[in-house]
Amino acid sequence: MNNTDRNILSEIASAFGDNAILYHQLTKDDTPTIWIEKNSLVKVLQHLKNGISEPYKMLFDLTGIDERTRTHLNGQPKCDFTVVYHLTSFERNEDIRIKVPLKENDLQLPTITNVWESANWYEREVYDMFGIDFTGHPKLTRILMPRSWKGFPLRKEHPARATELAPYVLTETMRDEEEADLKFNPAEYRMETKSEDSDFMFLNIGPQHPGTHGLLRLIVQLHGEDIVDIIPDIGFHHRGAEKMGERQSWHTYIPYTDRIDYLSGVINNHAYLLSVEKLAGIKIPERADVIRIMMSELFRIASHLVWIGTFAQDMGQMSPVFYAFNDRERVFDIVSAITGGRMHPSWFRIGGVAHDLPDGWEKLVQSFVDYFPKRLKEYDKLIIKNSIFKARTVGIGVYTTEEAIEWGITGSGLRATGYNWDYRRKRPYSRYEDFDFEIPLGKNGDCYDRAIVRMEEMRQSLRIVQQCINNMPAGHYKSDHPLTVPPRKEKTMQDIETLINHFVNVSWGPVIPVGEAMVPIEGAKGINGYYLISDGSTSSYRSRIRTPSFPHMQMLPFISKGYTIPDLLSILGAMDFVLADLDR
């Protein structure tokens, strides 16, 4: 228990009495984790958000855990389900996790949508996945699964594979029912169908639409071309990534993470593995860390390139997308030379990376670092400084820092409002503290500022890559910890201990020690984190993926009201979301 830990606990205890905290859980990531009664939940969260100095302003994550088959309870209160509230305080640079135990015969707890509006989707997700009822929620319906789905997928008794179910048959009546389910009924959302002088139009944008970058459905209520309201309908890209985490071994889950934010490849590996390594207590050799940083920054550039190209495309500009994809291909040339893969190399490993860097990598990376600034200048001239582009983005989709924090916006979207918050600086991981780079900031929090922040981020990433080339440390690319997968080979044939570890880690997969941890990192689109719970087995007990696109998309109706359809495209383009990241 460290100091800040004690502080916040005593603050809660002094406000609500010593009995308010049911249990203080120790987690591997040192985030204060407390259990409270559901009756005091709203009061405590209210207090943490508004009642204390240096408050916890952001609802970072909200999720559930099915506790029924957990074997290592370590003294935590006995319950069937837990709902976890993860809050962030920017002033303290501290997180707090609040857990509420629930019994199976009373799966109810009060909604917190009146404390954080952004809790809306998260509570729907918990309801969707666990069947937990949030009383007072404005519209508690399924969010990721189709409405006709039977059962709650993240409950332990729900099958994880299609082969555990009867073969799927889609009859004609089923098809008609599914179609009817998707029909939009304004009355269901208590939406007006007309104003005083005219009827509203309900325009169904998506799930197949050139402007949505994937399977996203937006039901837009229009007055002329002015947006009155938007109902985002998500889940078309849901693949049950969290459920898969409970079946895959800790090692074989790595390739699934690549495909969460599928534009930023190894950055996802990074987020996942930092949490696993925190649980396992593995220290990473310096060389492995710097390799990881270099690859992550290259992928950050690749992801931002897709964003700038498609953003310009959304504005009607045809050409930049080709230039950007060409440059991205150059990044992938480097990635494939180093890792053998392109978009999803799945190249990081528990305890390090898969191989050492190949001979001549410096030359390859250096040639890109020399080439790219010139191209960035071209993008600046072609897109950012174009007056039509400015007319389409300046003053569009504006939000303030307070609103961003209220809605859980992170990454470039938060920095565009002028708030300096980047985990690479604020909570440095993998030795980011040793690197010299700046955090670009915007001012007005509009689409244009989001664009210039990302453009500048590419330059800063390039600086980091240059420093990686100049200062690549010697040493091993993999830790010598026994849980490293696959383990170092040097001593395998001489030492029985190492041989056993090797055998176990490769055949069953590593057994990660019991505990809970989450190490959020600065992904390409915002803060990405894996909240992992190990029950001392070869796969995780619960893998919660906190992705940035989810809260970002939730904010869309709030920032789009009053603008027009073309502005909606600017706002979506500037948001930089990925559907796989949104629906997981």
Binding site: G316, S319, Y323, I388, A391, I565
Partner: protein, 314 residues
């Protein structure tokens, strides 16, 4: 020369150019976008045009059951007819034109106004929300640019003292009108881009927002007519710019007049394609405020100054 023959030749030339533009545009765009473009069918991919045409003819020509059928079928035809009719008054060479109307410019303006009906009716009859929004945008856009499009040409008419395209070309013997009528040219060029619904003013189509706008529901050869109609429109506006501001067929006499005319026309066609390759699309209200607040006053001022100067010179 036989009238029918001239009409035949004009139609053949114009339609070949429009069809050829499919290939030209795709190749030019790909050159500017670091890629190859269609290069597989025939030499340099030239037969791509034929392949595309055959494909369009054989595609299912689907008329949506929820549409207003007669109007839906009629709409693409209006576009083709109005544009092709306008080519009748454009002189390719001093003695090669279908007819020399003494109200040529008015004929062109009238036809271009009618052409918008094609888009509005097509979008309306499709009975699809995206098409409907596209049609609404098209009519708003038309109201804006039609006004200053006509006014921007009045300076030329005053200087040539005629509405006839032939007389206007002949009036440029000493000096192309691009010099005295520079502002008229700028305003007309912008209006022309809006008229053809090309990027950056493809607002009724706006593929990122409205899928394909007013022609979302069209397929087969009906779509093909909108498609070729767009290229015909580009050719037409380029030919008119060449005729009214760049001396039409006038040029050094070592090459035939028609050569100069087509050279100038193609130059502007390329400019159209270059615009498409490089610019993003403004919002429709931005185009409208640009039209009413900047281009309309500019066109009026142009008439005022041209008139004053002409009076002074008399």
């Amino acid at each position: 020369m036989n009238y029918l023959l001239i009409i035949g030749i004009t139609l053949f030339v114009v339609l070949s150019i429009a069809a050829g533009l499919i290939w030209i545009e795709r190749r030019l765009l790909s050159v500017w976008q670091d890629r190859l473009g269609p290069n597989r069918v025939g030499p340099f991919g030239l037969f791509q045009v034929i392949a595309d045409t055959i494909k369009l003819f054989f595609k299912e020509d689907w008329v949506p059951p929820f549409s207003d059928k007669p109007v839906f079928i009629l709409a693409p035809g209006i576009l083709m007819v109005t544009i092709l009719l306008t080519f009748a008054v454009i002189p390719f060479a001093p003695d090669f034109y279908v007819f020399d109307s003494n109200i040529g410019i008015l004929f062109f303006l009238g036809n271009s106004s009618l052409g918008v009906y094609s888009i509005v009716l097509g979008g309306w009859a499709s009975n699809n929300k995206y098409s409907f929004i596209g049609a609404m945008r098209a009519s708003a856009q038309m109201l804006t640019y039609e006004v200053f499009m006509g006014l921007s040409l009045m300076g030329v008419v005053m200087m040539a003292d005629s509405f006839s395209f032939r007389a206007i070309v002949e009036a440029q013997k000493d000096c192309w009108f691009i010099i005295p009528q520079f502002f008229g040219f700028v305003v007309f060029f912008i209006a022309g881009v809006a008229e053809t619904h090309r990027l950056p003013f493809d607002i009724p189509e706006a593929e990122g927002e409205l899928i394909a706008g007013y022609h979302s529901e069209y397929s087969g050869m009906k779509f093909g007519m909108f498609f070729v109609g767009e290229y015909l429109g580009v050719t037409l506006i380029s030919a008119i710019i060449a005729t009214l501001f760049f001396g039409g067929w006038l040029g050094p006499s070592f090459l035939p007049p028609a050569f100069w005319f087509f050279l100038k026309t193609f130059f502007f066609i390329f400019v159209f394609i270059l615009l498409r390759a490089s610019l993003p699309r403004p919002r429709y209200d931005q185009l409208m405020s640009l039209g009413w607040k900047l281009l309309l006053p500019l066109a009026l001022l142009n008439i005022l100054i041209t008139g004053a100067v002409l009076l002074f010179l008399k």
